[in-house]
Subunit: 340 residues, 2 copies
């Protein structure tokens, strides 16, 4: 069983996969491989190469784990965390650890190996978002899981090992450090001002316009004031809600369209760069609350898109401090002007 270990100084948790103790030779940065349809476990017809599906959009009349699907969610075959067992928190001298209980799933976004998210139809984009929503709702029923993180790695430099379009989901028994910082920051702001900091950001960005990328009825895309990376872009719902899964059917289409359009603009601007995007949403309210436990008023879900066009080096690792050579105002101006 994987182990969760806590750094006794910083409080940072780490997942140690004790099950596959590897030899040093196994650690080489992988080379780019586009992969072929024949060997890809995510392609249609290869449903037996993945664990059984836990969520699916498929043609009526087709059977689970067989062809005929358009979006398919399956547990990761080599999960970082597993759903079996008790948390079993314990100490080891001055150290704290617990069992690696959680979930690690793959959202296979299309049966088509070669498709890019930027080429998905609006219907397909909507299904991907519905799959995210469906899995969060299901996993939040498990009180052992404190947080459900959805993210997408695109391109080798962004950490993808399989080229077939997919997102990932990791559900953890602790609230991850970076999320906790955001929750605490938002709560502190709320306690001081009785306003949601994200709603204030939306207000200021809408008025000043200098960092706006685009907007539609329900969403805004903008370059954040303290962008860490060139062309970093955030997508945020205009309606206040801490939890992504509260998204309404009418809002879903707007999110699908602004997410895709923003990715298209970034792809056009930077020549199809590697990127990560992550969904930051409220933690699971079923479990024991901590100080960072969000209130309904103080947190606001959003998506952070991070193009990977500069390398993260010792300075960033050592300090948590970023050097961004591209002012977000310049990046937003450029992205705003691009038509897609």
């Amino acid at each position: 069983m994987p182990e969760l270990r806590k750094d006794p100084v910083s409080g940072r948790w780490v997942i140690i996969s004790t099950e596959r103790a590897k030899r040093p030779e196994d650690f080489q940065l992988p080379e780019e491989k586009k992969g072929s349809k024949d060997s890809c476990p995510f392609c249609e017809g290869h449903e037996d190469k993945t664990p059984p599906e836990v969520f699916c959009f498929r043609k009526s009349g087709t059977k689970a784990d067989s062809p005929g699907w358009s979006v398919r969610v399956v547990p990761n075959k080599f999960p970082a965390l597993t759903r079996e067992g008790a948390l079993s928190r314990r100490g080891s001298g001055i150290y704290d650890l617990m069992n690696g209980v959680g979930a690690h799933e793959v959202v296979i976004e299309t049966p088509d190996h070669r498709k890019n998210m930027t080429d998905f139809s609006p219907k397909k984009m909507g299904q991907v978002i519905s799959a995210y929503r469906g899995r969060i709702i299901d996993l939040k029923k498990d009180p052992r899981l404190k947080y459900i993180l959805i993210f997408r790695n695109y391109g080798r430099e962004a950490g993808t090992s399989l080229a077939h379009p997919h997102s990932q989901l990791v559900a953890t028994p602790i609230t991850p450090k970076r999320v906790k910082e955001e929750l605490i920051g938002a709560k502190d702001y709320y306690l001081r001002k009785e306003r949601c900091v994200f709603c204030d950001i939306i207000r200021q960005e809408t008025e000043s316009k200098e960092r706006l990328i685009m907007g539609n009825k329900n969403f805004l895309a903008f370059a954040p004031f303290a962008a860490r990376f060139p062309f970093e872009s955030w997508i945020i719902p205009k309606r206040h809600s801490p939890d992504f899964e509260t998204i309404k059917e009418s809002e879903k289409d707007d999110l699908a369209s602004i997410l895709q359009a923003t990715l298209k603009k970034i792809s056009r601007a930077l020549g199809n760069p590697p990127y990560n995007y992550i969904l930051h949403t409220g933690p699971n309210r079923l479990n024991i609350p901590g100080y960072w436990q969000t209130l309904d008023f103080d947190y606001h879900w959003h998506i952070e898109i991070m193009p990977r066009v500069v390398r993260i080096a010792g300075f960033e690792w050592g300090s948590g401090f970023y050097i961004n050579p591209m002012p977000p105002e310049e990046a937003a101006k450029f992205l705003r002007k691009l038509t897609v």
Copy 2:
């Protein structure tokens, strides 16, 4: 002048280099280039290609900024932060920012373009450490600078753009987030137990031995309990001290030898991998204290070596949570056995 901007939610500071507003085409991940001696600004005889040196070990009788040196420290030609000007903290709506005052220097470790740190002589390693120490002592005299971070990027995947052996130094007018977390964590531990958490770690690792890599009279090399990366290794002085620059002449040789031996072991184990190392030391005590301001008793300087053999992807960026497929006990066992 570069700008320092604060994320209003997480409190994370970012350096925005407003001076060189680039075009999107400029952002492409650089290809590996070993570089040639002819064009390298760090090679002997090219002293005019860098700003004037601020620290140097050189043959007596030779002039500043001319050949005859063995270690040379110069300001970065394209600094992320500059030493001129006032901090000028200010607001912009809900956002906070200040001028990018600080220092950004390069420690050129050898005139020899092709040498590796693992091949340095003991004397040379000692000079590199003395250069780190000398620069920290000098920069701590500037009360605008809250923190001085020294780090080394080795290999393209670890963020190096120039192959010539060098380390870097960034001095910042705020205490960086990740350092602050460590300072606060160590202080909280001290306030609870009246013991330094790092001294406790040293005690436990020395007794259990399962994560020890090697040790000498004054230093210990070990794999941390909650290692984020395969073969992550920390080097820590046995003598409690918050500040690196308090290192004694007799301890310096021991540090040089254990740092080099650990790097050699990692290089042997992983086939000369890219890595970053960072020096975590106490903040500058000259400036206005914050809660994270260290006491003499609660913080303990150390070096963190992070081989870059797995890619950091969306999960890590979105959560600050790491998946490490190599248990530190296994890594330490392997490194312990290697003779170098």
